[in-house]
């Protein structure tokens, strides 16, 4: 399917470190990263708007560097959608078919089916300026898919929409992609969007690819400190490996005044050695609030301390937990149901080895 081999792109003063990436057939892949990390630049290199200085882009085994944009067969939805204002909804959607002078009826049937699928049946004679934000998104999606592209690229198409409309369109996009079986690479800086729509996620930060994995792996086992921080994980503590076996590392973590067992499932390509200085990470959602669930036996490490603050986020609560005798604060997340059971004051939390992760201390 799509493969990037050490693609190096320069855009003015910004340059993207050589990026390698591979996407499987029919995969929904999300390129995640903060603003200015080079996500759109990489997308432009794939579609052909920008020529890589080095490296190659392959699509279905075909090297794309000598193939012009119009012959790559890549559907594209830019951030501002680029709906042609002088064309009606139908003319926008049929533009690709007409411009390529395609005669086969299957393409027109596909376009008509897509118009129905995205719910634009009654709007086909309208001009883009008369449509709502959500309707415009639907036109842009249908237009890009109507040409039956080999690959579908989306550059933060939902960033300007409100929360409920975005969620509605996520569901629609997922349905469209599942139905039309088109491999998709989508750029976003929104974690929820990435995890909702992506099957695999690649994290690009400051022009460097930090991780490319299944989405559950990316969140539960971030590969670098930068990825962990970008994912909003603040529970990162310096530690030292003091023991190890085939499945587990034992870390000494002075900040928490405890020893932590961490599963070795991640970062296997980096061989951790006893004595290595690393960073131990704890996901706030996977910290066990033991005084709520006393019977939880999976917690291997228990920390006594104090809940110093409770923040209601509307969708749950975030606790600030200070382990006894420590200067650091541990973020703990809990659901709304648990909110009523938590009070400021003494508490105990539990950390399970499977829910901890480690990352190298220095940048790779």
């Amino acid at each position: 399917m799509l493969r990037l081999d050490n693609v190096f792109v320069k855009a003015g003063d910004f340059s993207l470190s050589p990026v390698s990436l591979s996407m499987r057939k029919e995969e929904r892949h999300v390129l995640l990263g903060p603003s200015g990390s080079g996500k759109s630049t990489l997308l432009e290199a794939i579609i052909g708007f920008r020529r890589p200085h080095r490296g190659s882009v392959f699509l279905d085994g075909q090297e794309l560097s000598d193939i012009s944009v119009e012959n790559r067969g890549i559907g594209y939805v830019p951030q501002r959608l680029g709906l042609f204002p002088h064309l009606t909804v139908r003319q926008n959607i049929l533009y690709g078919i007409r411009i390529r002078r395609v005669k086969e009826s299957k393409y027109f049937e596909l376009a008509e089916r897509l118009i129905g699928e995205v719910g634009l049946g009654s709007l086909v004679s309208r001009y883009p300026e008369t449509l709502s934000g959500g309707e415009r998104q639907r036109v842009a999606l249908a237009r890009a898919l109507a040409s039956a592209p080999r690959l579908f690229l989306l550059d933060e198409p939902f960033s300007a929409l409100n929360e409920s409309l975005r969620r509605e369109l996520w569901i629609l996009l997922k349905k469209l992609l599942d139905h039309n079986k088109i491999p998709t690479l989508m750029v976003t800086h929104d974690l929820e969007e990435a995890f909702f729509l992506g099957e695999r996620i690649s994290v690009l930060i400051e022009g460097k690819m930090h991780q490319s994995d299944a989405k559950t792996v990316v969140y539960r086992k971030p590969a670098t400190v930068e990825v962990a921080r970008f994912l909003g994980i603040r529970n990162l503590f310096p530690a030292r490996i003091i023991d190890k076996d085939d499945s587990c590392l034992i870390l000494d973590c002075p900040a928490l005044k405890t020893r932590l067992p961490v599963n070795r499932s991640r970062n296997d390509h980096i061989i951790p050695e006893i004595g290595d200085e690393i960073i131990a990470g704890i996901l706030p959602e996977l910290v066990h609030l033991n005084h709520i669930n006393q019977s939880d036996a999976s917690s291997l490490v228990r920390l006594n301390g104090e809940v110093i603050d409770i923040i209601d986020t509307g969708r749950g609560i975030k606790l600030q937990f200070r382990p006894e005798g420590c200067d650091v604060v541990l973020d703990v997340s809990a659901g709304l149901r648990e909110a009523a059971l938590v009070n400021v004051g003494n508490a105990e939390v539990g950390l399970a080895a499977a829910n901890l992760f480690w990352v190298p201390k220095t940048k790779r």
Binding site: I47, S68, N71, R72, Y76, P78, G82, G96, I99, S147
Partner: protein
């Protein structure tokens, strides 16, 4: 007077200043001279010559300005800054100097060769068109470029991703979206060409019924102290100019912004 009133007063000063100058023409306006001058063969020739030459010069300028403006708006290429700066050349050089440059050019070996083997420009109709073309080319390019700058390049990018070649994307997307801006640029260039005097007189001279455009006719009438006739020709030129500007305002008010 507070600041707001001061600014409004400044705006009104401009109106009163120009309006007053135009209104002062009425002092020398005479019904008989008006009809006599307006329907004289010489005046009709001047009007026809000016319209034909300005239209030709504007079309030629747009033929070059549209692709040039697209290149300047969309691409980064060596020398782009120089080309972009030189668009202002006809504005910074006085029209008379521009005409003198043309005249001098046709006296060098290359110019002489062109005059001999391609087309004659000095003291003939083609010289008028050339003088007007040189004067308006930069302005026309600048005006079309402003329109192109307002059209996001992402439209063309999307069109290309949908299978359009760069030329097809330009013809099917950019050109229709820039249509009103191009028409406005044409009208403004045409109005500027209609009023062109300095460069035209240098290369085409002042030959009655041959190279006598409307501005040259004004000059020639004034030279013979025919104030009444001069006023009539000035009013004609004013009506053409103001009509063109009004058309542009009309088009601009309908001009959609594609931000």
């Amino acid at each position: 007077m507070n600041f707001k009133n001061f600014t409004i007063a400044s705006a009104f000063f401009i109106f009163v200043f120009y309006g007053g100058l135009i209104a002062s023409l009425a002092y020398f306006m005479d019904g008989r001279i008006l009809l006599e001058t307006l329907f004289s063969g010489r005046t009709l020739f001047s009007i026809r010559l000016s319209i034909v030459a300005a239209t030709l010069a504007s079309i030629l300028a747009l033929v070059i300005a549209v692709p040039a403006a697209f290149a300047l708006s969309r691409n980064s290429f060596p020398g782009r800054m120089i080309v972009d700066t030189i668009l202002e050349f006809p504005i910074i050089v006085s029209p008379a100097a521009l005409g003198a440059i043309l005249l001098i050019f046709f006296n060098n070996p290359l110019g002489e060769w062109i005059q001999k083997n391609v087309m004659t420009f000095v003291f003939v109709f083609s010289g008028i068109v050339l003088a007007q073309f040189v004067t308006i080319l930069g302005i026309a390019t600048r005006l079309v470029k402003s329109t192109m700058d307002e059209i996001p390049a992402s439209y063309e990018q999307v069109a290309r991703s949908l299978g359009a070649t760069p030329a097809r994307a330009f013809i099917t997307i950019t050109l229709p979206l820039a249509r009103r801006g191009i028409i406005a640029a044409f009208i403004l260039s045409w109005a500027k060409a209609m009023g062109e005097f300095g460069a035209t007189i240098m290369i085409a001279g002042t030959m009655a019924m041959r190279t006598e455009t409307l501005p040259i006719a004004i000059y020639m009438r004034l030279a013979t102290a025919d104030i009444g006739g001069t006023v009539v020709l000035i009013v004609c030129l004013l009506l053409f100019g103001l009509g063109a500007l009004y058309s542009v305002r009309l088009i601009s008010s309908r001009l959609a912004k594609y931000a």
